[in-house]
């Protein structure tokens, strides 16, 4: 290998646009000398940085003078080439490990990240403290103020119903919302709403107990937080795709639970009903009604049915739980009636107009 040579060179000093032309000389030491008519310079190799490779030329910069440019022909003698900083292609460490390995490494990390992101709601949701969820729910939906129907008798009946399906010390907050749809929702923060439409549709208080138990199950099994996290992740993925004010919390509330979650909530409801000696036949009857006959096609029902397991199958599970048992009525006729007339009798209840 030669240890000295000369090669044509061009350089700009970074202060003005004048091009200097001449030779780059190397005598085997740690510096490179540039000799031209208009400029002479000596550069330590350590000061040089690789700039770029362009059409037959290599461009170097100086660390101490960022806009200085040295342009050398690409066919440099190997001795000098070894002294100069290495070429960069992809930048950073991709050059060091090679494109193939870097691609594989990136792909592996990405797949892991996506898997983590997609499964996060399932393992993170149940671990979020209940108090956080309650605060978050309060921040998102508040307490609905006057939009919930309330009469002393109706409230008492609802409390009795809730006692049957939510024996916990700190109960979920349940209310009857002044909305005509046949629906019920579990909202972030442990709030459960029965829509007035569903209350009117119910033929027995046991039906309401079953639905309420199901929604309480969603809260207790932490499905709401899981779904909330899933929705949050989705909104990050779609970043801004659903940015309208119109996508209110009901978008969040009606977000789909998985079928497993629905079964868990059903199971929760059955267990509570059994403990409280309330007939699960009401719930079975309800599912049969919404899924069993042609009325199931009614629009108001589709929303509730769509994300849930087949109603027939669910009804059977409830029916089976009733076999060979006798039950006490969960509400008296007067109490059931008070619940039914709750929205009508509440003098100052407001409309839930902005949802629909």
């Amino acid at each position: 290998m030669e240890n000295s040579f000369r090669t044509p060179a061009q350089w700009y000093d970074g202060q003005n646009a004048i091009r200097h032309e001449g030779e780059a000389l190397w005598d085997g030491s740690g510096t490179l000398s540039l000799r031209g008519f208009s400029s002479e310079l000596t550069l330590p190799f350590a000061d040089l940085q690789f700039g770029e490779h362009r059409g037959g030329e290599l461009v170097y910069r100086r660390t101490s003078e960022p806009d200085f440019r040295l342009i050398l022909p690409e066919d440099l003698p190997p001795g000098l080439a070894a002294k100069l900083p290495e070429k960069k292609v992809y930048g950073g460490w991709i050059d060091k490990v090679g494109l193939g390995k870097a691609t594989a490494a990136f792909a592996a990390v990405s797949v892991a990240a996506v898997a983590l992101f997609l499964t996060a709601p399932d393992w993170l949701g149940p671990r979020v403290p209940q108090s956080w969820e309650r605060n978050l729910g309060d921040a998102m939906v508040g307490d609905f103020g006057n939009r919930l129907c309330s009469t002393p008798e109706g409230d008492a009946a609802l409390a009795k119903l809730l006692d049957a399906v939510d024996p916990d010390e700190q109960q979920v907050r349940a209310g009857v919302a002044n909305i005509g749809m046949v629906n019920a929702v579990a909202l972030p923060g442990g709030q459960v709403l029965l829509f007035d439409g569903l209350v009117q549709d119910a033929e027995t208080p046991e039906e309401l107990a079953g639905v309420l138990g199901h929604e309480v199950g969603h809260v207790r099994e932490r499905h709401v937080m899981t779904a909330l996290l899933r929705q949050f992740g989705l909104s990050i993925l779609l970043s801004g795709a659903n940015s309208g004010v119109g996508d209110t919390v009901f978008g969040l509330a009606s977000m789909g639970y998985s079928r497993d979650a629905e079964r868990e909530a059903d199971e929760f409801a059955r267990e509570r009903l059994e403990e409280s000696n309330v007939s699960p036949l009401g719930a079975a009857r309800f599912f049969e009604r919404i899924g069993g006959d042609s009325e199931a096609e009614e629009n108001s029902l589709v929303g509730w049915v769509a994300s849930h397991p087949a109603p027939r199958e669910r009804a059977q599970a409830f029916r089976k739980a009733a076999e060979g048992k006798t039950f006490a009525p969960v509400l008296t006729a007067q109490e059931f009636e008070a619940l039914k007339s709750m929205c009508e009798d509440d003098p100052d209840v407001e409309e839930f107009d902005f949802f629909f």
Partner: protein, 361 residues
């Protein structure tokens, strides 16, 4: 004294080729996919390095000195300073609506829209500034000491006024914003200045502006004629078919015709805007005719279609080549006086522009 004779063939030249570009663009695409998009900042940088280094101005190539890292930082800044606050505002505004403060909630929800309007102008300005400050020619760079905050305001009110008078002031708002933007930029010690005159493009704009009306009036007449002709041929059924066929032809004509006229206006605007931009003793011109633009756009569509979309990676190459090949400059440059720019440079890249997905030029 070092003079550059600008009478040479063309001041700008491009000597890249698509096969070399593919060697950059294809690995870029691969790396961008496996990094879930994060590599795209480095990909953009590599593309620009290629495009810039194959672009000649007079007797020296351009150089792109921007880095992927600074683009990435720009992106992260936008995320932190804009996207997350907007997310928070949405949350609060929904909560307000839920609590019955509909008006306050909606007003708060509109705030980000205003912010986006302002930031669009700001982003355009800062992207141009960023690109000039990362471009080297003979070791010299450009830039601006202006932060573009005032330009963001100008962008808001000029765009608003442009649409106010039934859109008739749009040419004025476009040229005026071009002038304002470029007059705040410099390269080396010299500032750019631009005096694009909306009067010169107004006739073209009127063509664009009035043609829908002409189309509609003409279309109704044509449809009626078609229906009549159909009626003559086949009674009432014939009339329906005739009218339908006329509307169909009209719809095609409407989209393509309007598209072509929009391109015609844009081509004229670009010639006017670039042609009235100066840099010290140098004045620029842009040669692309409406036909050139149409060929470019049809070429884009065909390339993307026939490669099942993969060809989109060549679009930046095509557009840059188109720009450079149509760009001309005349005048003198005194190289001794062409000293290094003293403008401040931002440490981060064009994150805003990236976020809003708009072009810089």
């Amino acid at each position: 004294m070092h003079y550059e004779d600008m009478q040479a063939d063309s001041a700008f030249g491009f000597d890249g080729n698509w096969k070399d570009f593919a060697r950059i663009a294809v690995p870029n695409l691969l790396l961008t996919i496996v990094t879930l998009g994060i590599y795209r900042f480095w990909a953009t940088t590599r593309e620009r390095q290629y495009l810039w280094s194959h672009t000649r101005f007079v007797d020296e190539r351009l150089e792109w000195t921007g880095t992927g890292k600074e683009l990435f930082i720009g992106f992260v800044l936008v995320l932190l300073l804009f996207a997350i606050p907007v997310f928070g505002i949405q949350f609060v505004s929904q909560a307000l609506v839920m609590r019955g403060y509909e008006a306050a909630g909606v007003a708060l929800g509109l705030l980000p829209l205003f912010a986006i309007f302002y930031l669009t102008g700001l982003a355009r300005f800062r992207a141009l500034r960023y690109r000039l400050s990362r471009t080297r020619w003979r070791g010299i760079r450009g830039g601006s000491n202006n932060q573009g905050l005032g330009y963001g305001i100008s962008y808001m009110w000029k765009t608003f006024v442009g649409y106010l008078a039934l859109g008739l002031l749009i040419p004025w708002s476009m040229t005026s914003l071009w002038n304002e933007r470029w007059s705040k930029m410099s390269f080396g010690p010299y500032e750019f200045n631009a005096h694009a005159d909306s009067g010169n493009i107004f006739a073209r704009f009127l063509l664009f502006y009035l043609s829908p009306i002409i189309f509609v009036v003409g279309g109704v007449i044509a449809a009626a004629t078609g229906a009549l002709a159909g009626y003559g041929l086949g009674g009432e059924d014939g009339a329906g078919i005739g009218a339908l066929a006329s509307f169909f032809i009209l719809a095609i004509f409407f989209y393509f015709g309007l598209g072509v006229i929009a391109v015609a206006f844009y081509a004229k605007f670009y010639r006017e805007a670039v042609g009235s931009t100066h840099w010290e003793d140098l004045h620029f011109s842009f040669e692309a005719s409406t036909m050139d633009w149409i060929k470019l756009l049809i070429g884009d569509v065909l390339i993307v279609m026939f490669t099942l979309g993969l060809g989109f990676i060549f679009l930046s190459y095509r557009h840059w080549k188109f720009m450079i090949e149509n760009l001309e400059a005349n005048g003198d440059i005194l190289l001794d006086d062409l000293t290094q720019s003293t403008t401040k440079t931002a440490k981060h890249g064009e994150g805003l522009l990236d976020a809003f997905d708009i072009g810089a030029f």
